[in-house]
């Protein structure tokens, strides 16, 4: 996938601004990823509500009023709090971009939500969490994060429950918004039909409401006021964990996580290819064996969770409860086999073709490219990532892929969680190396 033509700068407010012209897009897409590191579980609850409240202006009585304000400009917006950031997403007519960027900067630098609007945000978030609590995925993710990062790590507080919000004081939310949410260290991707604004030359126009350009932008030009990021603890030697679920449930779940190198690391792509060959697409080993030959699963997925200062490789699948033992054995055997003897050239070519050419297909729409591109930028990379990966794939050998599979998927690195409804089913011991 060829990198899109772009312009980049660091702005006076501290945001790393990247501008991409997409004449075929009907709207401009904006993704502003702002760092916000959670300190502990109680702080995570405050940060979650703060993330939801970020767009509330001084005259907004609730979130609907904030949404109405942007609709009056012909756009929509939303925020997505995560364990290491808050993402502000907006879709607007391109000519309204200067207004939008100025408004978003105001919200980040001068938060002034009304007390009743904060109460509304808190109530809405409690309702949302209450509805989500039945999703098994949350329990799985909570266990995985706790064991991947360690119980006290900021990234362990990824999943919250309604009761966690009981102690949240709206004053603490406002204090967090005022003292810890700031554009410094953020990345801001603007992608859309910029012809009326000067195409790529719109960079200057769009930087103006952000205080103007003060540097070239990019990872080496990060704003010095940006918050410090937590360290990745690496492998923690965690035994397999079981998530209890109701005994009548017919489905078991298997999740595997492992620390992984960041996208800029030379071993990231070989591990990506190993993951693809394992379970990343329909032709992968696990999809063919578990779905097409045995009918045990509807699908298998593999991929990466890339946080600001830590990357995790992940595999997930569901299967009938009475087959989880056999499925688990197959998954571990396949993991080991990709390390020794590994995949052959043809298999890796297929995996690389899907992984890399698939990026061009999957990111063809402006919204998809904006969302994926902004996460790449926030992790300290650039939009030429896929082009560089394609070049690296052309010279990556099966031995290199096998070596990284052995290294990154070794048993002390894997974090395994099984959700199994059977009363008598303890998680079996992990396989021996």
């Amino acid at each position: 996938m060829r990198a899109p033509a772009r312009q980049r700068c660091r702005t006076a407010c501290g945001a790393d601004l990247v501008v991409v012209d997409r004449p075929d897009a009907p709207f401009a897409e904006v993704r502003w990823q702002v760092p916000l590191v959670r300190r502990d579980h109680a702080d995570a609850a405050v940060a979650l509500v703060a993330g939801r409240a970020l767009l509330l202006g001084p005259l907004d009585g609730d979130a609907a009023a904030a949404q109405q304000r942007v609709l009056e400009e012909g756009g929509v917006w939303s925020t997505t709090p995560a364990v290491d950031r808050v993402t502000l997403s907006a879709t607007v007519p391109a000519e309204r971009l200067p207004w939008l960027l100025g408004e978003l900067r105001d919200r980040l630098e001068s938060p002034a939500p009304r007390p009743e609007a904060l109460q509304d945000a808190l109530a809405t978030e409690r309702t949302r969490l209450a509805a989500a609590v039945a999703h098994r995925e949350l329990g799985l993710h909570r266990l995985l994060a706790r064991h991947r990062w360690g119980p006290e790590h900021p990234y362990a507080h990824a999943v919250l429950e309604p009761a966690d919000l009981d102690a949240v004081d709206p004053a603490a939310v406002l204090d967090l918004l005022t003292t810890r949410v700031h554009p410094a260290g953020s990345t801001l991707l603007v992608l859309g039909p910029l012809g009326s604004l000067g195409g790529l030359d719109a960079l200057e126009l769009l930087a103006a409401p952000l205080g103007g350009a003060v540097g070239p932008g990019g990872p080496s030009d990060r704003d010095p006021r940006a918050p410090a990021l937590p360290a990745d603890p690496g492998p923690r030697g965690v035994p397999p964990q079981r998530l209890p679920v109701a005994p009548h449930e017919p489905t078991a779940s298997l999740r595997l996580w492992a620390p992984a190198p960041p996208r800029s690391h030379p071993e990231h792509l070989p591990l990506h290819l190993a993951g693809m060959a394992l379970g990343g697409y329909f032709g992968s080993r696990l999809t063919q064996e578990l779905r097409e030959r045995r009918g045990d699963v509807y699908g298998v997925t593999t991929g990466f969770e890339v946080l600001a200062s830590g990357t995790t490789w992940a595999l997930s699948l569901e299967c009938p409860a009475d087959r989880i033992g056999a499925v688990r054995e197959t998954v571990h055997a396949a993991l080991a086999a990709l390390g020794d003897p590994g995949a052959d050239e043809q298999e890796l070519e297929r995996a690389a073709a899907y992984a890399l050419q698939g990026a061009a297909v999957g990111l063809a729409s402006p919204a998809a490219l904006a969302s994926a591109g902004s996460t790449v930028l926030f992790a300290g990379d650039d939009l030429d990532l896929w082009e560089r990966q394609a070049a690296q794939a052309a010279t990556t050998t099966p031995d290199q892929v096998a070596e990284v599979a052995r290294s990154w998927w070794r048993s002390d690195a894997l974090v395994e969680v099984v959700a199994d409804p059977r009363d008598d089913a303890g998680v079996p011991a992990p396989p021996q190396d």
């Binding site: 609709l71 509805a131 329909f282 032709g283 009938p320």
Partner: protein
């Protein structure tokens, strides 16, 4: 943004319809294949056969090994998908533009005849069992309201049976059943293929050639099964328990106008699903409403669904009354000379909703093909834009308020928490 050239339609000698729709030049092309058979055409005792056959279409064909369709498309980074709906089955591929002709050749090969064998049949029944267990039963509110509402709204087993599939019935399906199903329904006269996106003329020619080679059938062309249903004469409510409902959920269904005969009214009803502000704090009704799926994706009669999560213990009747009060309040708002904020920004909201819906894989190709197959008009969506139908909101509100509703209230198993 430069408008795309208008789509075109041609009928090939074997009767297959081909829609060609140049679109965004982002290096990607979409192929959508629509076959005029959905779960409403399943014979009695074979609930889920259309869905099973959708799976079997990936089991190989004369020149494509089992799994070969996925392998070939994925080799170029493409995406593959398929769905079974009320009245059609759709297959779609999103590929790099130069791979269009090759991809259509794969589609043409299986349209000429899939490779049916017992192993594939047995395995895919297991895969469907896993799909239902994992994607529906294990998901909070999975299948709501479609597993419950049709039986309240309609009368005929054609429209009320479970289209996901009855696993016992599927395990009894034979290869001969599958062969008969293919012969009856997968007739090129009952198929629409749509090419959309960045279309290179040479690739379109290759695609046309491959599709023209699908053998023509003799005898009468397939005709859609009758789906007419009598209108409701009074409200009908069902309260039921669902193991995967963690909290009460309520959905009300209303019969939609015909999209071909009354496109403005249909579009305005679609707008209602987005704009209706449901507000009844005593019942804990919030602003959730909405259309389930895609408008005009099934033949008439189709249904508009409005839903919410009420307070535990509230019966359907007061919920129905509260919904009608909200509809009446919106009707009053529409009549005012100074529009409310909701109505003032309605067009923007609806345009963004359409834009977000367009993010579905191969969305435009799928809509062109579906409307051609279902309604004989591949450009029907151009007349069904809710943002252009706000003037018909009073008529849409009257249409909904003047008819009985069918509703389903699901409550959690083991209590109404």
């Amino acid at each position: 943004m430069t408008p795309f050239p208008a789509p075109t339609l041609e009928r090939l000698p074997n009767g297959l319809r081909l829609v060609v729709a140049p679109g965004a030049r982002a290096g990607v092309a979409a192929v959508a294949v629509h076959v005029g058979v959905g779960f409403r055409a399943e014979p009695p005792g074979a609930s889920g056969l259309a869905h099973l056959f959708e799976h079997l279409m990936f089991a190989g064909s004369a020149h494509v090994p089992a799994g070969g369709h996925f392998a070939a498309v994925e080799a170029g980074g493409g995406r593959v998908g398929a769905h079974t709906r009320h009245d059609h089955t759709e297959f779609f591929d999103l590929v790099a533009a130069p791979a269009l002709g090759e991809t259509v050749a794969l589609e043409a090969d299986r349209l000429a005849g899939p490779r049916l064998d017992q192993h594939a049949l047995s395995t895919q029944v297991d895969v469907i069992a896993a799909e239902i267990a994992q994607q529906v039963d294990a998901v909070p509110f999975g299948g709501f309201p479609w597993r419950q509402l049709p039986a309240v709204l309609w009368r005929s087993p054609t429209s009320t049976h479970d289209g996901y599939g009855d696993l016992a019935a599927l395990r009894a399906v034979t290869l001969e059943d599958c062969e008969r199903f293919f012969e009856r329904w997968y007739d090129p006269r009952n198929v629409v293929v749509t090419l959309e996106g960045e279309l290179e003329p040479r690739e379109v020619d290759r695609a046309r050639e491959a599709l023209a080679a699908v053998p023509a059938r003799t005898g009468p062309a397939p005709t859609p099964v009758p789906v007419a249903e009598p209108p409701l004469v009074e409200d009908r409510h069902l309260t039921t328990v669902a193991a995967n409902a963690p909290a009460p959920a309520w959905a009300a269904g209303f019969r939609m106008p015909d999209p071909v005969g009354e496109p403005q009214l249909h579009a305005a009803c679609t707008a209602l699903a987005t704009l209706l502000p449901l507000h009844a704090p005593a019942l804990r009704l919030t602003g959730r409403s909405g259309w389930y799926g895609v408008p005009a994706d099934a033949r008439t009669p189709d249904v508009l669904v409005l839903s919410t999560h009420p307070r535990p213990g509230v019966a359907p009747e007061p919920l129905a009354a509260a919904l009608r009060e909200s509809l009446a309040a919106l009707a009053e708002d529409v009549r005012r000379s100074t529009p409310s904020a909701v109505l003032r920004t309605a067009a923007a909201r609806l345009r963004h909703q359409a834009y977000q819906r367009g993010e579905r894989t191969a969305h435009r190709a799928r809509r062109l093909g579906a409307t051609e197959l279902l309604f004989g008009d591949y450009r029907l969506d151009e007349r069904l834009d809710p943002a252009d139908a706000l003037g018909a909101l009073p008529a849409a509100l009257a249409h909904v308020l003047d008819q009985p509703m069918a509703s389903v209230l699901v409550t959690p198993a083991g209590g109404d928490a």
